[in-house]
């Protein structure tokens, strides 16, 4: 009953808050644009858009404000400390879900508004005709949504100050915090990459190929976009991470709740995966652009352009590598300071397995593609026969990805091997290892199945004399590559899984615990005066080797 009431209260609060934010930001937009933060020029033509906007904004505010006030007051009344049910309400999963969703949505709106405002400022400063010049719209959204977000932060902090929270009431808002930090970091890294490229191209005076070189301010929009990513994304990342770190350092029950949180480890692992993937990809792009020169297929027309093509992705890769290294260091330092051996072991595994998985994913994809290209080149497939430099271009693109991916995989997998050498049973029992092996096995099997399906479709088509479009070598080269790599990856990791399973079984056996492969629960009953214990004892005599009959309850 309480859950239904909470769902109603928080759903209505959330919806009316969304409408209120939309109405207020529209109202503020009109005001800000009127005082000079909108389009600067005179009205050339058209109707009374401002009047329409004011009408809509006023209606939205007038409708939503009382609805929000009534429902939010009810929500706030229920968590007043003088109420007996306040602790249950304050820590309820529905309230936790509300804060996670509302704060996420408000942050997204405020971030979008801030990003739009920053873009407009740069566009105005650069005096370019690409992108919006209206600062007012973005600023209004950032201010209104930001104020609502700050209010929710204050309310949630007050909730925490009133006592501990556990379960979904605690981890749902925590999920918001780490998702926001992760998204902010990714925006920051993408912005740094974009900024490196714009600055590099400005120094070399080399506009990107898709830009009109006659437009002198070609750099304005990419610069606005990258600065927005850096400022908005960086602000969100730093803000949330600093807040999360303060919680970890807290000596009270908030710190005690935050430090062992699996979501924090998941955040670190997600950053390691994304940052290592970005580093590998950008590094491979830089090497590929360098490799294109001896292959005679470089897009660079002169030496500065070639240098630029190598340098820009390389500089972006450095930013991703720094994020990768930093998060690895932070995760390790936290594990060591926790004083828990188990935490140290988990942290060490999270530094190795996910990155090995990323390296393997890149290298396996690239090797499969390269096999396909080589089959085409050897047997005369489309990529070789079409003339030009298609297959050389593909090799220049995929060879660096294969080599760097394999190098990263070997680097991390050797560390995994070292761990195995020290404690094989502990490693075999680890969930991280099992998850990594299962993910890889599943990917290998699925890729193999898809490729085998394509190959067999072509084969059966030939057997049944069905006319098939396309050259057989071109159609089959990549599926053959995928099949070979998929089978190899699946086989290797399948063997590892079987070995782990066998070690876990041995471990259970050595502990003296029965290895239960299958079990049936039975109920034995008899007439008045019966002797069920005697019957069970007699049945035990008849059991085949390895079978056990246990008495769980006797009445």
């Amino acid at each position: 009953m309480q859950i239904a009431r909470r769902l109603y209260i928080y759903l209505l609060s959330g919806i009316s808050l969304g409408v209120l934010v939309a109405g207020l930001s529209m109202l503020l937009t009109v005001l800000l644009e009127r005082i000079g933060l909108g389009s600067s020029g005179a009205q050339l033509s058209g109707g009374d858009v401002v009047g329409q906007q004011l009408t809509l904004a006023s209606a939205l505010v007038v409708v939503s404000l009382p609805v929000w006030l009534i429902h939010w007051s009810a929500a706030e009344r229920s968590v007043r400390p003088d109420r007996e049910t306040a602790p249950a309400e304050r820590t309820s999963e529905v309230r936790g879900l509300y804060f996670a969703v509302a704060m996420g949505a408000l942050l997204l709106a405020a971030g979008t508004g801030a990003a739009s405002m920053l873009e407009s400022i740069v566009v105005r400063l650069a005096d370019t005709d690409i992108g919006s010049r209206s600062i007012g719209g973005g600023l209004a959204l950032a201010v209104v949504a930001g104020a609502a977000w700050l209010y929710h932060l204050w309310i949630r902090s007050r909730d925490w100050a009133r006592g501990p929270m556990t379960g979904a009431g605690a981890w749902l808002p925590r999920t918001y915090m780490y998702v926001a930090a992760f998204v902010g970091l990714m925006l920051l890294l993408a912005g740094v990459g974009g900024l490196m490229e714009v600055l590099g191209r400005l120094v070399l005076d080399e506009p990107p190929p898709y830009k009109d070189p006659s437009v002198s301010s070609w750099w304005a929009y990419p610069l606005a976009s990258s600065l927005t990513g850096i400022l908005a994304g960086g602000g969100v990342w730093v803000g949330h991470l600093v807040y999360a770190n303060r919680l970890v350092d807290d000596s009270g029950w908030r710190g005690a709740s935050e430090r062992p949180a699996k979501l924090r480890l998941a955040y670190f692992a997600a950053v390691l995966i994304a940052a290592s993937a970005g580093t590998i990809f950008l590094l491979a792009e830089a090497v590929g652009n360098g490799l294109a020169v001896p292959f005679g297929i470089s897009d660079g027309e002169d030496t500065p352009q070639v240098i630029g093509l190598i340098l820009f992705p390389l500089l972006s890769a450095v930013a991703y590598a720094i994020a990768w290294w930093l998060h690895g260091q932070w995760m390790e330092a936290e594990a060591v300071s926790s004083g828990s051996d188990e935490r140290v072991e988990t942290e060490d595994r999270l530094e190795h397995y996910p990155v090995a998985l990323v390296g393997l994913a890149f290298s396996a994809t690239a090797v499969a593609w390269i096999i396909g290209v080589l089959i085409d080149a050897t047997l005369g497939g489309g990529r070789a026969l079409s003339g030009g430099d298609v297959w050389r271009r593909e090799l220049a693109e995929w060879i660096p990805l294969a080599l760097i991916g394999i190098a990263v995989w070997i680097w991390r997998w050797r560390s995994v091997g070292d761990r195995w050498a020290v404690d094989p049973i502990g490693e075999a029992a680890s969930t991280t290892r099992r998850a990594m092996l299962l993910i890889t096995l599943a990917a290998g099997v699925l890729a193999g199945i898809a490729a085998a399906g394509l190959i067999l479709y072509r084969l059966f088509g030939s057997v049944f004399g069905i006319s098939q479009a396309g050259d057989p070598v071109s159609e089959l080269s990549t599926p053959v590559g995928v099949l070979l790599v998929g089978v190899a990856v699946a086989a290797y990791h399948g063997v590892q899984l079987r070995r782990d399973q066998s070690m876990r079984t041995d471990l259970d056996a050595s502990r003296g615990e029965p290895v239960v492969a299958a079990r049936i629960d039975l109920r034995l009953s008899g007439p008045p005066g019966a002797d069920p214990s005697g019957v069970v004892a007699a049945l035990r005599q008849q059991l085949p080797p390895g079978y056990v009959l246990e008495t769980t309850e006797e009445r």
Binding site: S39, G41, A42, G46, V49, V50, L54, D127, D129
Partner: protein
């Protein structure tokens, strides 16, 4: 109370923006007259403001078909205005930069948004002409020529 103050301030400040009459022999003036003719439904006059090249690409019939196809679905449910932001280029070929604000729909389901457009203008003889096939200020869908 604060809301009421904001609303009053907004209403007081947000009167209609001043409409400026641009000279007939300027690119802005040509575009302004094209828009005025378009808004009055005088498509023949509006079409006359296109350059020779555009009129070859899109004759009056094609223009009317494009207007019916693109504008027919909105009509009275849409209010829009064009704000002049600036001019780039010089000589006989310039680009006019504008912000378009649109308000579509009715009631609480209505929405408001704005976007930027750049309109190329060329001088032909003594007059400035629009050098892109448009429906109001949006690119016109070109019909295939056989």
């Amino acid at each position: 109370m604060a809301l009421a103050i904001i609303a009053v301030v907004v209403v007081l400040l947000a009167g209609d923006r001043e409409s400026v009459e641009f000279g007939e022999d300027t690119p802005e003036g040509t575009l302004q007259r094209y828009l005025a003719a378009f808004d009055e439904g005088d498509l023949a006059s509006a079409h006359a403001y296109f350059s020779d090249g555009v009129r070859d690409q899109m004759d009056l019939d094609a223009f009317e078909r494009a207007v019916n196809a693109q504008e027919g679905d909105f009509g009275a449910e849409r209010t829009r205005r064009a704000l002049f932001d600036g001019r780039s280029g010089d000589g006989d070929s310039v680009r006019l930069e504008l912000t378009v604000e649109e308000f579509t729909g009715e009631g609480l389901g209505a929405s408001s948004y704005s976007y930027q457009v750049v309109i190329p203008m060329v001088r032909e003889g003594d007059a400035w002409r629009i050098d892109e096939p448009l429906v109001w200020l949006n690119s016109a869908p070109l019909e295939p020529h056989f």
